[in-house]
């Protein structure tokens, strides 16, 4: 099973939870850090990095000896990444989405697609945790290609945890899309609830099963549990607010170390998500009959 750990709002505990679930497992598990703009999982897993792979995107390169300046490439490009001015054709790599339309349309085959480095993958291991972290280069605008490269390291037979980027747009959708289920982590503040609802709207569009974990629960604010109860959304765990956790986090210590009492609950989350997914499949099958 591929389980996404996501949230609309940033800083609610995606990385804390992803790493804690990974470290609490007794079976082998794979953790993919897909928050490629600001990857942080390595602090809490402390894997031994075995190798690094470069990630590339394809960008057009124009052979000026073949280019007639017809402008077909600029007409077909939706992103203004290639423009012909007279006989000269200019490419703006940072706007290119690597769709290949310009190379395909060029009547004189003057465009070749070449690789441009946009990030890297760090691949390693820590005990039973297989670890891959995607890292986008600073100054690159589009993270989805790096996220897709990271996701390729998921193995069907293994439990795979995907630490997702924040927000609700392209990077979030890219990371969550291929997963079987989504675990949303939020905090019981008005911002936390507001952004949770946005993330849920997006996940409902994707048609994926999901459940919620509350981080920094303080027993006084029940807006997330009330919302989940009203919407019939499973709430799997409430991680209590505790300065111990905040201080441990600041030093790069995992939640399983700061609060070992949560280990059993954390270990059981993947199975609960699996049950949720299968329960839903059964209901859908029953509805078809």
């Amino acid at each position: 099973m591929k389980l996404a750990i996501a949230s609309g709002k940033g800083g609610t505990g995606k990385t804390t939870l992803s790493c804690a679930i990974a470290l609490a497992q007794t079976e082998p598990v794979c953790l993919l850090d897909c928050d490629v703009e600001e990857p942080n999982s390595h602090f809490f897993i402390q894997p031994e990095i075995e190798r690094t792979e470069a990630v590339f995107s394809l960008v057009p390169k124009v052979d000026e000896t073949k280019c007639t300046g017809c402008g077909e490439c600029g007409r077909v490009c939706q992103f203004s990444a290639i423009i012909s001015l007279g006989k000269k054709t200019m490419v703006f790599n940072e706007l290119c989405h690597s769709c290949g339309a310009c190379a395909r349309i060029c009547p004189t085959h003057a465009i070749e697609e070449v690789r441009k480095p946009i990030g890297s993958l760090e691949i390693g291991r820590k005990a039973g945790v297989r670890f891959v972290s995607g890292r986008m280069d600073v100054g690159v605008a589009m993270s989805p290609p790096v996220i897709r490269a990271t996701l390729k390291h998921a193995v069907e037979t293994e439990l795979t945890l995907v630490d997702c980027p924040p927000g609700t747009s392209c990077p979030f959708v890219t990371a969550v899309k291929g997963c079987d289920a989504v675990l949303l982590v939020t905090e019981p503040t008005p911002f936390g609830l507001h952004d949770l609802v946005l993330a849920i709207e997006t996940i409902r569009e994707l048609g994926l099963p999901f459940a919620v974990v509350v981080n920094r629960a303080n027993g006084e604010q029940n807006r997330i549990s009330d919302y989940c109860a009203a919407e019939n959304i499973p709430l799997l765990l409430q991680i209590p607010e505790d300065r111990r956790v905040a201080e441990a986090y600041s030093r790069g210590q995992a939640l399983t170390t700061a609060m070992p009492e949560l280990k059993t609950a954390l270990a059981s989350i993947p199975q609960q998500m699996k049950d949720l997914t299968e329960g839903r499949k059964e209901r859908e099958a029953a509805a078809c009959l």
Binding site: G10, T15, F43, G100, A101, G167, P190, G252
Partner: protein, 284 residues
């Protein structure tokens, strides 16, 4: 008019709470919420919407079943794995139009996408431009640019002293769209290993675009040693440390009451935010 962008690299460090307090302290600033994916500033400033506009951007492919000959070329061409069984998955479609262009029977439509809405609103601390993306919509960078541009128009027209922009997390396209051409950025960091790591990357980005940067550390007393380390790192990357805000339960309390911290509190954090604002003003 000075334009200040509040960003953080790492999410959840307190950008929006600090922006709201700055809005209260600035008196008559124009405000923009450029965290269009997960906009929260309106939860504190409770805007009254005066103008509402649709944001259309980009296109998405749609195969007309009646005209499709099921040749499968579109599926082969698509680099985004968006076409299966002669249907386009709108959430995967990148809007590149390659399939539209090369379909031999021209059976693919390419309509503009309605991606969300943007608003100009009145708040108790000045006019605010903000937006809401539809779930899963693309082009948040373009929406960010639009929100900033509209806010700048208002700030220039009103002759405001400040345009305060609540920025998105990360270092990707919405952040680049938020910071390019600004007078300064304030990075809100936290004294954690992740905070340090993410600050370094976001300062590399602001240096790349040659934007003067300042740094403040939120919840600095969670780890004073790390706070020192982050301030040293900031200085080494040319960013000025402008404040330390202590952990204070009043910050969350203010959020729950839909108030900016400095509106109601005279506590430690509120005092530190006031001092940070005055240092930011004198630095700019």
């Amino acid at each position: 008019m000075k334009e200040l962008i509040i960003i953080s690299g790492k999410g959840g460090t307190g950008k929006t709470s600090i922006t709201a307090s700055f809005a209260a302290l600035a008196e008559c600033a124009v405000l923009a919420d450029c965290d269009v994916d997960a906009a929260d500033l309106h939860l504190v400033l409770e805007p009254t919407i005066r103008r509402r506009e649709t944001f259309t951007s980009g296109r998405a492919a749609e195969i007309r079943e009646v005209d499709c000959t099921q040749c499968g070329l579109c599926e082969t061409i698509c680099r985004f794995d968006a076409i299966h069984d002669f249907q386009v998955d709108p959430l995967s479609c990148e809007g590149c139009g390659a399939c539209v262009e090369f379909c031999p029977v021209k059976a693919i439509d390419f309509p503009e996408q309605d991606c969300g809405e943007w608003y100009v609103s009145a708040t108790r601390h000045g006019e605010m431009v903000h937006a809401r993306m539809h779930p899963g919509a693309e082009n948040s960078g373009k929406l960010v640019s639009l929100v900033r541009q509209e806010a700048r128009k208002i700030a220039l027209k009103q002759n405001s002293g400040f345009l305060l922009v609540d920025g998105p997390p990360g270092i990707g396209c919405p952040v680049i769209a938020s910071v390019t051409g600004a007078d300064a950025v304030l990075v809100v960091s936290e004294p954690t290993l992740s905070g340090e790591h993410d600050l370094k990357r976001v300062l590399q980005l602001t240096n790349h675009f040659k934007i003067p940067a300042m740094v403040c550390i939120n919840k600095w007393d969670i780890n004073p040693t790390m706070t020192e380390r982050i301030e040293t790192l900031a200085l080494s990357l040319g960013a000025k440390p402008v404040g330390r805000i202590p952990y204070d339960a009043a910050v969350t309390a203010a959020q729950i009451n839909a108030r900016a911290l400095v509106e109601d509190s005279d506590g430690h954090a509120a005092t530190a935010v006031r001092m940070t604002w005055s240092t930011v003003c004198s630095t700019m």
